[in-house]
């Protein structure tokens, strides 16, 4: 892409990333959550891919790292859900009797496992969407 697109992307990609991180980390307090924030951060990655081209993306995209991140997100989600297994699957034991994340409702360190799950789902969605876009760009069959 041209110089204007590249400069604009350089300026906006960090802001999009910061906004996505805010949406993920405040998912239990304000509108949004892991899925939406992860998609926002993935939007920053897709903007990078479109603005700077696939060659530049290939240097910075590590396939093994991203598949490990996606697996980590899913496993953290399941593991946190397993924590309340004494009562039920998906029981929020951190909130009712946990050592941490059980502050006043409305503060950042409250709501039990919700912030951790938001982080896990955000990581999973970000890694998954960026991987899908890179796969589509890498195996494109429309050139020639």
């Amino acid at each position: 892409m041209g110089l204007i697109v590249k400069t604009t992307a350089r300026a906006t990609i960090p802001l999009i990333g910061i906004f996505g991180a805010y949406v993920v980390s405040h998912g239990h307090l304000t509108p949004g959550g892991g899925f939406q924030g992860g998609a926002t951060i993935a939007g920053a990655g897709i903007l990078f891919l479109i603005a700077f081209g696939f060659g530049e993306m290939k240097k910075r995209y590590d396939h093994h790292l991203y598949s490990a991140l996606e697996g980590l997100g899913g496993l953290v989600f399941l593991g946190i859900a397993m924590l309340g297994m004494g009562v039920a699957f998906f029981y929020n034991t951190l909130w009712h009797s946990g050592p941490f994340f059980n502050g006043q409702p409305g503060t950042l360190l409250s709501a039990g496992y919700l912030p951790v799950m938001n982080l896990a789902v955000g990581l999973k969605v970000f890694a998954g969407l960026v991987s899908a876009m890179v796969a589509i760009a890498a195996y494109g069959r429309w050139r020639e």
């Binding site: 959550g33 989600f77 938001n118 969605v125 796969a135």
Partner: protein, 100 residues
Amino acid sequence: MKKTFGALALLFLLGVLLVVASPSTGIKFGLGGDEWMKYRYTDQYYIDHGVEEVGGTNIVTDIVFDYRGYDTLGEATVLFTAIAGAVALLRPWRRDEDEE
């Protein structure tokens, strides 16, 4: 004539569905006898008890990650399956390499 009849029949079916599916006049199913509405429409319960039972002030996150946790689990599985399918379909196949 046939078209008019078909449209009228569709309208009639739609009206019957609207009456049947309406909470005040329709069929009542599920738990609870007289209190069936309380068990079928749980939104007010989530708004009243969400903060105290799950802790997040964002009720949607409370529902998605606690009350409806299995749904989110399936959603994550769907995302993973979609990406795996996209990669499996888009990658170069052996037949394509033979043709070139």
